[in-house]
């Protein structure tokens, strides 16, 4: 099995290098994309938009499909569990 690195508690992105973490701090539970300039977790809607954007930019899927996929991805992450 490949070696495991921590994953963002909000979006699940693997965090391998310090710059992947919020504020470059490897003790933080969230990645740089899911946090603001102070390292605080962004609101759900903003994280949802960012993740949906990854699908659209990378593969050109429709915005509606991207939002649904992002919602499915985030649903059981520690930061958002029990939200629905």
């Amino acid at each position: 099995m490949a070696e495991k690195c921590p994953a963002c508690g909000s979006c699940g992105m693997p965090m391998e290098k310090p710059e992947d973490f919020a504020l470059g701090d490897v003790t933080r539970p969230y990645c740089r994309y899911c946090t603001d300039a102070r390292g605080e977790l962004l609101p759900y809607e903003q994280v949802l938009e960012t993740n949906a954007g990854f699908y659209v930019e990378s593969q050109g899927v429709t915005r509606a499909a991207a939002i649904e996929m992002a919602r499915a991805m985030l649903a059981d992450k520690p930061a958002w569990r029990g939200r629905h």
């Binding site: 070696e3 693997p14 993740n51 990854f54 593969q59 050109g60 996929m69 992002a70 991805m73 059981d76």
Partner: protein, 200 residues
């Protein structure tokens, strides 16, 4: 005290070993029977474990499927990191992608064949991995372009052209390969063709 902490460490190690066995067994069964057709009971039976152990590690069947996809994702990430850190160029990124696909080929071929039928969470995980591949391809292409070795390509079409080609061969691997691996037999042809498409 020391004995207790040693026992706890052993339990943790055993937990990791059991989890890895389940993931490997699931990957083999998914490849053989298909993802939709494989139950958690099948996975438990294949390695003579109780069904309850599967649920202890993976409360939902989707969690087990995603654990296998994550394993693939981790290998991919490591290969891409190596290609990126060493500035190896687009051809090397394509080869890195194919190396991992070849390693996971029977499972991955099932995954892409069944993707539209899989639960949203599983499909979304796969599509997020595609997003990572798309990023690596695009960054490599941009480096080639700046060096005058490639032309401009919109990012989604760059990725979709590559993955469409690769997935077609994978989904129909029984008619494109004489042996067990279509990637081993056709991979170089696909890389050469794709490189010819991006030439300036």
């Amino acid at each position: 005290m020391m004995k207790q902490s040693m026992q706890a460490a052993t339990r943790r190690e055993q937990k990791v070993v059991t989890r890895d066995r389940l993931v490997n067994a699931a990957m083999a069964l998914f490849a053989r029977k298909g993802i939709v057709n494989t139950t958690t009971a099948d996975v438990a039976r294949s390695i003579r474990m109780s069904h309850g152990v599967v649920f202890l590690h993976f409360p939902r069947r989707d969690d087990l499927v995603i654990a296998v996809i994550d394993e693939f994702g981790r290998r991919l990430h490591a290969e891409f990191r190596h290609a990126f850190d060493n500035d190896l160029g687009l051809r090397a990124v394509l080869h890195a992608h194919l190396r991992v696909l070849a390693e996971f080929e029977p499972f991955y071929a099932r995954l892409v064949t069944e993707a539209p039928m899989l639960p949203a969470k599983v499909r979304s995980t796969l599509m997020m991995l595609h997003a990572a591949v798309s990023y690596e391809l695009f960054m490599a292409l941009e480096r080639e372009r700046k060096a005058g070795r490639a032309r401009k390509f919109p990012r989604p079409l760059l990725f979709n052209t590559w993955i469409g080609l690769v997935h077609h061969y994978l989904v129909n691997r029984d008619v494109f390969a004489t042996g067990n691996s279509v990637i081993a037999e056709q991979g170089e042809t696909l890389v050469n063709h794709f490189m010819s498409l991006v030439k300036p």
